[in-house]
């Protein structure tokens, strides 16, 4: 990769940091726990690196490490999204509406 491409990634990082700050500052403290589990699930995107490591068959070491990494990252993605949804389902605006929803 040439140096121009390196610099482009640094720009990308900076823009993502600014955007992230804007978006995440708007999350109310009410939803801070779901936010944490959501960003955790999203950072499971390291899967894109570990999938290649696990499937490229460069060496036994890299395949093994890749396999463990795929397992860990998938656990986070699947577990993180399930838990986030479980939490968000619980946040209700009104008591009456909530109890009606629970009726079959």
């Amino acid at each position: 990769m040439n140096s121009q491409a390196y610099i482009a990634t640094v720009y990308l990082f900076m823009l993502a940091a600014f955007l992230g700050y804007q978006v995440i500052s708007r999350v109310p403290s009410l939803l801070h726990t779901p936010l944490m589990s959501a960003t955790n699930a999203i950072s499971g995107i390291s899967l894109v690196g570990s999938l290649v490591a696990a499937g490229a068959q460069h060496s036994t070491l890299s395949t093994t490490l890749g396999f463990i990494a795929v397992t860990c990252a998938t656990t986070n993605v699947v577990g993180g999204f399930i838990i986030t949804d479980r939490m968000l389902r619980m946040f209700k605006k009104k008591r009456t509406a909530a109890s009606e929803e629970q009726k079959p």
């Binding site: 990634t9 978006v23 290649v52 795929v70 993605v77 577990g79 939490m87």
Partner: protein, 457 residues
């Protein structure tokens, strides 16, 4: 063609992640946002599977299946009260995954790495390793496998900083000699040790900051991997995760009036444990029979939940009582301190689980002016966040920390397991104030009895 398809999937995923997080700015749009993010993740995975370097799918499928099984298990069966532990554990997993990808990359390319790539890889492995072990220690503390109090020894900070110095030195040498594999592994191992030593001296009360900080590290490790393998979606998602963790840790620090360095190196609670200068006043003990009518005929009752509510699993009992009071015509509110519990937003999730609508949950700034108009404030297992010393006593270790000013209510009832101190080990002058009464015993039982007494009257 294949290249463009893969990149398109990453591009789509990046947009969907950002839209997903934007959805979290309101509880009503949050679930839809998360579905977008889930779809984005699926696209990115499918895109990656088309990568030309992938020649065999056995280990990939095995890892995906195993991870999905573990993830589904954790996702469905972890109770809401255990959310801080679960979060710490998942930070360990995320950081480990990032560190392992970095190690695998280094083992393949080693000496041929450019300075830029080696720098990113080193950063990834350093942060990834220390976050893995640090999160595991945090998990063990929250789960009660390790004592929650700070574990300190003499010269700890000096030792830790020297260790960090050695790690950084190894990192710098590696940038100029990327092929030095033994040095690379030494750096990884030392970072693992450093992670343990970093979190051991931090007490349970500071856990909200530590969890948020470890969240940031795990995210930054992922972003670093993105730089190393020049993958844009990794950089974006990792930066969002890192930024979110950083913002949360700043919010938590502000809510405790402490700096991040004080949290990391201060060993909070250790000092006050030894200085037990007891200024014992008389505490008034409340009983259910008198309290129930007082609550029932109040105009406004504010509940203040703390970590004690989580340990006693009392959130449903709180709901029972609050419903009984509302049916009797009482205005019921809930006051949430940002650092109540062991992670950001911990109390909100527990109360939501107990089916308490979020329109009844109030933040510190919103509720504090309201306490003077409150007839009874019910403190359920909170201590330091209602300690008036933080406001009145400038020599208190928690001086300047914003508190919920329950002592301004006409009457305060504190539900407490026993007459012991809070996690910080500080005396709480609230308990001896004339308008404060103590209700000792298991919070869940007390609340259930109160609810029954209110309904019976």
């Amino acid at each position: 063609m294949r290249y463009y398809l893969i990149e398109a999937s990453y591009f789509l995923a990046s947009i969907l992640f950002i839209l997903g997080l934007r959805g979290l700015s309101h509880p009503e749009t949050a679930r839809r946002g998360m579905h977008l993010a889930e779809f984005g993740m699926l696209m990115a995975i499918i895109g990656t599977l088309m990568h030309q370097e992938i020649v065999s799918y056995e280990w990939i499928i095995a890892g995906l299946l195993l991870g999905s099984a573990i993830g589904t298990g954790i996702g469905l069966w972890v109770p809401m009260t255990a959310m801080p532990q679960r979060t710490a554990f998942s930070h360990a997993f995320g950081a480990l995954a990032a560190a392992l990808v970095g190690i695998s990359e280094h083992s393949l390319h080693g000496a041929s790495l450019s300075k830029f790539t080696m720098g990113a890889l080193g950063f990834d492995v350093l942060l990834g390793s220390l976050t893995t072990t640090g999160s595991l220690v945090a998990f063990a503390k929250l789960q009660g496998m390790l004592p929650g109090r700070p574990m300190t020894y003499k010269g700890q900070n000096i030792f830790n900083l020297s260790l960090l110095g050695v790690i950084v030195l190894a990192f710098v040498i590696l940038i100029f000699h990327p092929g030095a594999a033994p040095l690379f592994y030494l750096m990884a191992v030392l970072s693992l040790i450093f992670g343990v030593l970093l979190v051991l001296p931090i007490g349970s009360a500071d856990m909200p900051v530590v969890i948020a900080l470890l969240n940031a590290y795990a995210g930054l490790a992922s972003a670093a991997i993105g730089f190393a393998i020049s993958n844009n979606v990794l950089i974006i998602a990792g930066t969002l995760d890192g930024g979110s963790g950083l913002i949360l840790s700043i919010v938590m620090c502000r809510a405790m009036n402490r700096s991040i360095t004080a949290v990391l190196f201060g060993a909070f609670g250790k000092v006050s444990e030894t200085s037990t200068t007891v200024t014992e006043g008389t505490m008034r003990v409340a009983n259910i029979e008198d309290l129930a009518p007082q609550l029932k005929y109040a105009r406004q009752v504010v509940f203040v939940p703390g970590y004690g509510m989580a340990t006693a699993q009392a959130q449903h009992a709180v709901r029972e009582l609050s419903t009984a009071l509302e049916d009797a015509g009482v205005t019921v509110k809930f006051a949430i301190h940002p650092v109540a519990g062991r992670m950001p937003g911990h109390m909100n999730v527990l109360l939501a689980e107990a089916n308490i609508p979020y329109s009844q949950l109030y933040e510190l700034e919103q509720i504090n002016p309201d306490f003077t108009a409150t007839d009874v404030a019910v403190v359920v297992g909170a201590n330091d966040v209602v300690n008036p010393d933080a406001r009145d006593n400038s020599s208190s270790p928690i001086s300047g920390m914003p508190i919920l000013e329950v002592d301004r209510a006409k009457e305060v009832v504190v539900l407490k397991r026993g007459s012991g101190k809070g996690f910080s080990g500080l005396e709480n002058p609230l308990f001896t104030k004339p308008n404060c009464a103590m209700l000792y015993g298991d919070a869940k039982e007390s609340l259930t009895q109160l609810a029954q007494a209110v309904l019976k009257d």
